[in-house]
């Protein structure tokens, strides 16, 4: 949508931190899957409308503005939540035994939920009439507006959807990783790389790139140190970009 969101990782972090609070308040982790998206919708819609709207379409302006937002989110989290990493107890401590290997139940569940969300996103974008509106405004905003599409509404919906997905990702990751106010920084660059390699605006490419990159990093982390594995991923990405500056799956 022409917003390069540098604060995306921090929304992810905010999701994790909020779920920590929900667990503290109600004692039930699953409730946070309802509360956190609600909070994120309430916050991100005005932010898009009143803060980001003037810069949309200017990539560098949106990046700088979202860097500002990311500072604000990070510092608020640091001020309220504190700088010490905390852990949420595993909400579903079951493990399945498959061919002699134990699989933690929660991770499998998260994988299922992610597949469901992705399928839902794909259905929404490619099989509903609203998805057509979204894709139309993505390709050519002026033309879409001329055809009578309420582009502003589409912009707000897509931004809110992106934020909610990031926050849900944070919630789901909270019991697996440690909840830390800088945890977004680790994710944001990886997700940028994934999007770049997949090609901007291509859901299929993003999915393939994400799966292959993460498994590649996992394999390399068993040989190299984690940092070097991460650096190797970057190098691979640079190689790909030299060959195909527009990403792998974009014509």
């Amino acid at each position: 949508m022409g917003i390069v969101n540098m604060a995306h990782g921090d929304i992810y972090m905010a999701g994790a931190v909020l779920s920590f609070y929900v667990v503290g308040m109600f004692g039930n982790f699953w409730l946070s899957l309802i509360f956190v998206p609600a909070i994120v919708i309430l916050v991100s819609a005005p932010v898009e409308r009143f803060v980001l709207r003037p810069y949309e379409g200017h990539h560098s302006s949106t990046m700088i503005a979202t860097v500002g937002i990311s500072f604000i989110i990070q510092q608020i989290a640091l001020g309220t939540y504190g700088g010490i990493p905390k852990k949420i107890t595993n909400p579903w401590p079951v493990s399945f035994n498959f061919l002699g290997v134990d699989y933690p139940g929660y991770r499998l569940l998260v994988a299922c939920i992610s597949v469901l969300i992705l399928a839902g996103l794909w259905l929404f974008l490619y099989k509903t009439s609203y998805g057509i509106l979204v894709r139309a405004s993505m390709q050519d905003r002026e033309m879409a507006a001329a055809m009578g599409i309420d582009v502003n509404k589409v912009l707000i919906t897509t931004f809110v959807m992106g934020s909610v997905l990031a926050a849900v990702g944070g919630v789901l990751a909270a019991p697996i990783n440690q909840v830390f106010y800088l945890m977004g920084d680790n994710v944001i660059l990886l997700s940028f790389i994934v999007v770049i390699i997949g090609g901007l605006g291509s859901l299929k490419g993003t999915l393939i790139a994400a799966l292959s990159l993460c498994s590649l990093e996992g394999v390399m982390a068993s040989v190299l140190s984690p940092t070097k594995a991460r650096a190797a991923i970057f190098v691979i990405m640079i190689m790909i970009l030299i060959r195909r500056p527009q990403g792998l799956f974009r014509d």
Binding site: H59, M63, F71, L78, A231, F234, I238
Partner: protein, 319 residues
């Protein structure tokens, strides 16, 4: 007609900058000790800001990877003093050489990409170098860093030492003045005009037969060179360098400085440096979470005028 007026403003701005530099010469003696070291830091940051302005302000390449060149400059100076036992001035050449080399490599890869990809890939370069600098503690000292002993500079019969804060002040000031004069000359020369026309309309410049990629690369390299110079001077002033020199702070600060001061005005970014340094110095003392205000300032400035304080003044005067 309008164009002439802009040129006129540029000349006025140039005189302001020269006056400011002369003022700095006098201030070196008058200022108390604490303020002098603050001003020294500000002058170093101004070099970084001007260097960044060539990239962002003149050719509209919003790079988030300038901490790579800043850190490379710092480590270029430190390594050459530590391992090669060279003097201060050669060490600055080494730091600029490191910046030149890295900006060439990074530029060759990233400059041809379109806007969004360019920003992201420079940000990724920042991340790679930061990670590596943190990881390779045997080389960089990691978070703890490396400290150096400064050799003294011999000027004919006299020798001076950068340990003297006053000498350090004037040492940095000379570099600031020289870099301003060079960059100002570049911005006014034909190549500077090409930079600006790339910013205004890249396609048209391409149709006119210029090799846009080459000019953008040149601007990127000039920018990296001066960022590295600034990093080297900063390391020499602190007599210390750590992986922190590669941190995101040094990537985002130049953006903010240039935005506050005014994009493409070179000397305008000094205003941004002064405001932000004072802000950081005083506000961080009484509020730990001052970065919240920092974020709000970024948003406000973007909203009011993308051209910054100076750009705002100039545009008001023109209409």
């Amino acid at each position: 007609m309008e164009f002439e007026k802009v040129g006129e403003k540029r000349t006025t701005l140039h005189y302001f900058a020269i006056t400011f530099l002369l003022l700095l010469v006098v201030m070196g003696i008058l200022l108390p000790k604490g303020a002098r070291s603050l001003v020294t830091h500000m002058m170093i940051f101004s070099i970084l800001a001007m260097g960044y302005d060539v990239c962002f302000g003149l050719t509209n390449q919003c790079s988030l990877g300038h901490s790579v060149f800043f850190g490379a400059g710092a480590y270029g100076a430190i390594f050459s003093i530590l391992h090669l036992k060279v003097g201060i001035l050669p060490s600055i050449f080494f730091s600029m050489g490191a910046g030149l080399l890295l900006s060439l490599v990074v530029g060759l890869i990233s400059v041809r990409l379109s806007e969004a990809y360019f920003v992201i890939i420079t940000a990724i370069f920042f991340a790679v170098f930061h990670l590596l600098a943190m990881d390779m503690t045997w080389l960089t000292g990691g978070d703890d860093g490396l400290s150096i002993k400064l050799p003294s500079i011999s000027l004919g019969p006299e020798t001076i030492s950068l340990y003297n804060p006053l000498v350090n002040y004037y040492f940095v000031l000379i570099f600031l003045a020289v870099s301003y004069l060079i960059l100002n000359r570049i911005a006014r020369s034909p190549i500077g005009k090409i930079f600006v026309s790339i910013r205004e309309n890249e396609k048209r410049v391409q149709f006119l037969g210029y090799n846009v990629f080459r000019y953008k690369l040149i601007a990127f390299i000039i920018s990296g060179l001066f960022s590295a110079l600034s990093g080297g001077l900063y390391a020499l002033t602190l007599r210390y360098g750590s992986a922190d020199f590669f941190s995101f702070h040094w990537s985002i600060m130049p953006v903010v400085w240039c935005l506050i001061g005014g994009l493409g005005t070179l000397a305008g970014s000094w205003i941004g440096v002064v405001i932000m340094s004072l802000f950081q110095y005083y506000v961080s003392a009484w509020w730990t979470y001052y970065l919240i205000l920092f974020g709000i300032i970024i948003l406000l400035i973007l909203r009011i005028s993308r051209k910054g304080i100076l750009g705002y003044v100039i545009s008001r005067r023109l209409t």
